[in-house]
Each structure stands twice: as structure tokens, then as C-alpha cells.
Symmetry: C2
Subunit: 204 residues, 2 copies
Amino acid sequence: MANSVDPLTEKHNKIMKRRKAFMDHKIQKATGSKGLLLVNTGDGKGKSSSAFGMVVRALGHDMKVAVVQFIKGAMETGEERFFNRFPDDIIFKAMGEGFTWDTQDRARDIEICEVAWSQAKSFLQDDSIDLVVLDELNVALSYQYLAFDVIRKDIETRCEGQHVIVTGRGAPEELIEMADTVTEMTLVKHAFDKGIQAQAGIEL
Amino acid sequence: MANSVDPLTEKHNKIMKRRKAFMDHKIQKATGSKGLLLVNTGDGKGKSSSAFGMVVRALGHDMKVAVVQFIKGAMETGEERFFNRFPDDIIFKAMGEGFTWDTQDRARDIEICEVAWSQAKSFLQDDSIDLVVLDELNVALSYQYLAFDVIRKDIETRCEGQHVIVTGRGAPEELIEMADTVTEMTLVKHAFDKGIQAQAGIEL
């Protein structure tokens, strides 16, 4: 009975075969190639972390990366400390000054965002950079610290083939329309709500 | 009129003040400290990337990290290539052999997952390791390649203070119940569906 297959295995093999055919077809069809605009938004965790994970992937492919942080950045994060070890591969610009509810000054926030955007724009026009991460830009956009039309134009006219990742909750609808890939991170549950403080190395 | 404030700024300041009070209160209340179990699930992108972003953060805090990949891993990814530059800080074990619809062999998949789990278990019992990433474990669990009760016991009895991140679509309900923080990544749209092929350095 060497060839007998149990029903669970048989069912599984059928499903996998169908899925493989579907994926092969999709992969065959997907032949376009271009610089992507990716957006990570939503109230859940992982929007910035996911972007930094993609930075790691890009660095593993010997790509050159630039990061502009729009809102966070008053305190040096673990990511910044780590990436600063590779100044030839990644430029990390923390332009924000803490969360807006800590600064309590709209005029100053706008000024900081505008300086951060000039920095971002110079990366978008630098063809030695393969991936630009605009961390927490969505927050700056949703507070109207920056005019969306300016941002759109600068992203649309960026260097050919350059990838851009935009993170932050509250991505404006127009940005979602522009984007190639959009992921929404949804909070299912959070340790913080159970009274567990943010853990260094994991959440800070 | 140096002190006059426009209505938009005034409204914004009020909202920010209220938000700051709320956050301060929450931070004050959250004093617990423990090793966290984090789960990234859902059909969207960024589940593994987000975990790798947290790895970067942990490395920036001089933590020691171990990664076990359960399903992917037939081809060396950018992440693996990059993290392999730091063998003293991170141990990266790619145990899977490609997606299951490529292998088409349930018995072999189970065997591979069991070997991967022994590896994972040894990390969970190693108190020199601060963070263990169990990448795509959810997929192995949802196909019942591994028994959930075994996994639960080994995670629950891991070293004190050790953080664990589990990724992959289809996280079982019991794992979500066990977890401290759960994020669901939802696909809003994907370049692949527009016929753009996966881009090396961004998606591979």
C-alpha cells in the first residue's frame, strides 16, 4: 500500500496544486517594472517597523536608502542607532521633534515639516538613492502641516525607478489613489492597553 | 496683536492638549514589564517586514536576536543576506523550503516544520537571546503542520523577559488570545494586482 494517500493529504495536495496554478498565472502576467510607491497606514503597530524591515531587505540587495522622519525623532530610536552604523548605505534624517501632543505648537510643527520636506525632496531628486522612506509623513499630511499638491508633484517627478515608502496613520485618500501598494495595519490588541509599559528594544 | 491666535491653530492646540493629557495618563498607568508575545497576521503586506524592523530596533538596543523562518527560505532573501553580516548579534535560520504550493508535499512540509520547531524551542530556552522571531509560524499552524498545544507550552515556558514575534497569515484564535499585542495587516491594494512584477529589494 505504498501509494495510498490519506484523505487530508489528498485534499491538501489538491488545494496546493490549484493555488500554485493561480500564482504561476499571476506571476506570468505581472511583467511591469517601475519604482513603487508603498503606503503603510492604519491605527495598528508595524507601519514604520515594516518600512524599516523593507530597508533591511533593500540593504541586503546593495541598494542605497534614505530615511526622513517627519514626526518622531526627539529621542534616538533603536532603528536610528543601528542604521547609523552604515553611513555609506543609508542616510537617516530624524527631522521631527517628538509627537505633536508633546510640542503643542502648530506653527513650529509646520516649520519643522517644511524643512523635513526640502530634505525629502532632495532625496527624491537624487538618482543614487534607490529607496526613500518618508516616515510618519501621513501624520504631517493629515494635520495639513504640508500641502498635498506639493508632495504629490515631488513624488510623481522623482527619479525613475526609485521606490518610496510612506508611513503613518491617516493616509489621505489622494495618496492612497496614487500608491501602487497600500497596507492598513489594524490594532487587534495591544499590551499597552493591558497596563504593560512600552518595552525598550521592542517598542521604543 | 502679537497674542492673537487663528481659529484653526486654537482648535488644534485644544485637541493636542486633550490628547497629551490622555497619553500621559495612559503612560503613567502602564508600569508592567515582561517579555511580550507579538503577533502580526492578516492578508496584507508587512507582517514579516514589521518583525524585521523590530529586529533592527532590538539590535540598536544591543539585544541578541534569533530568527526561525518556517515557510519561506528556499531562496536567500535580502533580509537574510543583510542580517548574516552580524553573526554575533543575530542568528538567522531559514528552515522552510519555499511556499507550500511549490513543494506540493504535505509529509515533507510537516517534517521540515518539526525540525524548525526544535530549533525554535532551543532559542526559547536560551536566556542569552532577548528576541525570537518565528517567521511564518502562523502558516505552519493553520495548515496543522505543528500541534498548537506543543507550541503554546514552549512559548509559555520560555525564558523570562524574552520577547517573541510570530508572523504569518491565519493566526489561530488561541494564539491571538495568548498574545500581548496583535496587529492585522490588511491589503488595501497591491501593485502585483496591477500587473507589476515583484521588485527585488522591495518585495523579494
